[in-house]
Symmetry: D3
Subunit: 248 residues, 6 copies
């Protein structure tokens, strides 16, 4: 079976990661996955939230937004109607995922603010946000821990790569990296976040229509594993030398 954009079921859309997209941010990326485009920035703030004060640890937190016309129909701004439940869910997911590969002790008493702003949405915005924000995060942390500097805890605070992808079941077929049209017809929708070591950080699977079996879950996980390995390969290429500091 061939998909409407000509892909096979196991095929990802073309991915492009542009570093240094916004001149002011310590780290910034434009990530494009097919027609989905997300600006990810990482900003350093030299203090931590109240609940961490005095613990000699840092924090990584994320916010997610979407321009009103990122979608087929215009959506009212969240500055007008308030943030939706979906927005809260996504930004919690992104923050949690990135924190899982950062050694907060090594980071020191500072916060990395991740902002993911979708300027065009064609499915997979939350997984693209994680994949892109990771690169912005490494850039920002690289900027405050310049190579050669003696690190307090002797290690670069980013301990592994991380990326995310969606998988779904559409018309009874399991497919990788759904676009918006496929996503809206999917009976099962799953997002998987994995590290460079191939371990799971987050798995969220939802039956929108019919429930699914453990066998199908396994099949989806396998497909995600291959896709995420490809994404991490791209992250490595884009980060180049800086990437070599990860985990050391």
């Amino acid at each position: 079976m061939i998909r409407c954009d000509g892909r096979t079921n196991k095929e990802m859309r073309s991915v492009k990661i542009t570093r240094g997209f916004i001149k002011y941010a310590e780290g910034s990326v434009l990530v494009e996955v097919g027609d989905t485009k997300v600006i990810c920035t990482a900003s350093i703030e030299e203090r931590v939230p109240l609940f961490l004060k005095g613990q000699e640890k840092g924090w990584v937190t994320a916010e997610y937004g979407m321009l009103p016309r990122a979608t087929g129909e215009r959506n009212p701004r969240e500055a007008v109607r308030g943030r939706s439940g979906r927005t809260y869910e996504i930004q919690r997911l992104v923050g949690r995922a990135l924190r899982s590969v950062v050694n907060l002790e090594s980071l020191g008493e500072r916060t990395v603010w991740i902002d993911c702003d979708v300027i065009q949405a064609d499915g997979g915005t939350r997984t693209s946000a994680i994949t892109g924000a990771f690169v912005a995060l490494v850039d920002a942390i690289g900027a405050i821990f310049p190579s050669g500097a003696s690190l307090k805890h002797k290690a670069f605070p980013v301990v592994d790569y991380i990326a995310a992808i969606s998988i779904g079941k559409v018309n009874g077929t399991i497919m990788l990296d759904l676009n918006f049209e496929e996503d809206s017809r999917a009976s099962v929708d799953m997002n998987v976040v994995m590290t460079g070591c191939g371990q799971l950080v987050e798995i969220q699977g939802t039956a929108e229509g019919d429930p699914f079996t453990k066998g199908e879950l396994g099949e989806m996980l396998n497909m995600a594993e291959v896709g995420i390995a490809d994404l991490i390969h791209m992250q490595k290429e884009v980060l180049g030398e800086l990437g070599e500091r990860i985990g050391h």
Copy 2:
């Protein structure tokens, strides 16, 4: 290994479901899972949200709250500080889970409002809410589709049982149904929602500390499967005759 409350790793806390807990609601339940206590009500409203108008379908939606002193330290009311991201996430999960076992066409143009209010919280509030709210939902739908009445679509709108449980990895050991103390030390936290047929409706697994392997995921799923089967057995006992209409 024995847990602090004397349970084995595969053992659930004691569960009690009390039907008819609030006299005004079409369906209402007090669900107790160990020291976690949630009041679940199901209310019928004879209209649907705007986006469903005129489609001859119903809707099921859920809201979640917690009394300020349900926890060890008092939390400010959400009427004061606004609803948190966590609240949005949970109520979206509960609504999605219950909709997955309701035939919205059979329900007709009406909304079932599910309210889950935690009066005492000792871990597992979201999964307990799903397990309890299902019983309240069946009661409410039973009240508007009295047995013997000729149904428009010839079938009772509830098509299967549904229940949920948490599993986690604490000190390297996988355990069923974490209480608050265990949950706060867990390195992996997973919630699973399954139907009476043993199929998955939702799986949400998060590495709070270290990532986890596909093997561990499988082990957790197996443990969840057994626990949920037990919970659905209790739901059947509590619902008695009314439960026999489910799926017919």
Copy 3:
């Protein structure tokens, strides 16, 4: 004239006060007055509001809430629509009433948060809240001023009992302790708060339909006096030994 639930005009509904209802709170009570059920908790916070800082005095404040389905028709949550004028009015009343029997100097620089959450509402929720919250308050203060401990100001901070009841005029007849159905038909609605010494702390009388005379006001006050004496008798029984510290 006999009322629809068989009571005489001067008769209160059955009252039940259950101490220790929520395991985490310093003081907690389930108060039931007929079908009205309110969870009252008292939480100690070891600091005072800004306006009292450095004055060596404590504070008692109250918040009031209602589960969405505590009533015949579901009410939207205040976390969604904001707190109503009615809520503000009630929580101010409850706080004021309880403060009138607490010696704030003896309490020391700490705040007692009273939370009254109605889980089922059949009239008289604000007066039941006061009657129940008093018991929770005594329990919480008892916990931080254990018997035998030498108190800073040499006296237990609670100086007298306090309870409240409603009276109204329905179909031209004056009645004690209105339920919801009577309340909705009442032409006069009055709430009275009195101390163990039989003195007035608060009186709020409102003509919903026709105005009332000074004679009727007197008659209502007399009825309230007897009812409150009965309530305080129950509080004494429930508090037992701890109650003996009040006023000493």
Copy 4:
């Protein structure tokens, strides 16, 4: 005992009611009680709130505000910090009081909006608001029910006069019409609303410090009765011929 402004205990401050204070409003009044100054307007809207739709009845509702510098220290605007509990309480009181002397059926399907805005506050703002708003209300209703017109229900919708006053206990002495300085030292604070026939519409008495006896309550009521009769006398003088339509 003579009060700081030279009044005796039973003496009211000087009162001035200026009709037609705002040129656009159907009814408008500047009411001055001592240094307390409130602008009261009554606006007619030709529709009723949702809950009254189709019932052939009108509605009277009130809102209350205070300029930031009406008081000794500047208060933040409620447009900035949200309306306080005190504001809700007062506007509910004002609305309830005025509705008690309006025949809502005679009014027809329209709403009278009462706005009471305090421009200078020296105690007694809520009672002054009621006394002044009544005159604005009569003016507005007079404008839509011109004399000589055949009224649908054959009667002028305003059925009686209404006014309000405060009484309190300061340093053990009961006094009429407290100013701000007296109010802040009062141990009992009471507001009474009465009709032209001398009947009670609202009584709200609060012990700020020590509780009070039934005897003191009676004494305060008597003092209020005389004061309100004086206020209604002034309302009659100010309204002149238009006032003669009240109750007919």
Copy 5:
């Protein structure tokens, strides 16, 4: 051409400035320009906003409000619906204008809060607010820098007079000081703020209908210049001796 109220095109409405209108405020004014009436108060707060802390400078900030019935139709309160964009625009303008004639270093670490509350609106409320608020500002600053006191920076903090007026183009004719009816028909609407020295502090011109030429802009500016000189003349008369300290 004669205007509906009998004025010529270059003629301002009658202006009245009443000092000391609110007894509590350090400075307060009722400014009346035709039927437009604005209460302006100036309040001193002995601290500065966060962004100025420790810089040994003061701040002047303004807020603007309108009573609900200041206009022909009742407007909902901003405490209910939130502040409008128009309100934000006006209060930013008023604050900016007044700051331009205050030496913030001389003022010292304190804030002057300007409140402009429109009680009756007939066009030109923002310009009237500036003209009136200036007088209140001088009174408030005069109160904290009493004549004869040795000033820290040796100069009175107010360095020049300031006033504002509107000009517009109605039916092809340029006119000074539009009232509401003229304003609603104007094709060009301009507000000009000028100092006692005749220099520009703010110019805001908007084509509501047809664009305008540079020549018309010049004509409008000339008309504004004359009007503002008249207003400043009145401010001088009203301020009397206190005004002589301005700029010295």
Copy 6:
């Protein structure tokens, strides 16, 4: 005098307008003025705001936003802290400017929503937004009034070009098109909006420090006139054939 980026005082930064930047919007543009980058979209909604209902006229409205990291320091999202006064001011300005060149009768009963989202801010964001949004607006209106279609009112609804630019006085020198660094040092800041015919639509000049003379105002206007003519020339080039329909 040469500016820090090498420009002369009368020289604009390089400008780039990219049409069709967002695939879903009826009209969309990325406008770049030096390092300032704004995404402008125009969305058609087939209904008008309440206040225009039934008047056979359309509406053009604008909203403005800024990504948190568009600036040197991260700004909190307006979805979190609410929209600022500055945001309200800018979006009102953009809407007003664009409406001045649209024949709302010809547009018919529909709304054009303009969204201007700044992704990188280096001064002049509001003027760049107007210049770019105009092109998006023409594209969107072109899409619903395709060339050749017989128009209801026989004319293309866009009647003239419009663009905007800033001018300021920095260190005593008047300069065109200030960047952020210049803007923060400017003593006078002016924004001018002009049509293709060279007429004024809006002029907003503010003395941030010292007031300015009428002569300086004239000099700034002349500079703006030349700059805007250049911008409109670029708009014409970018719009090509579609631009020829404007005004016909």
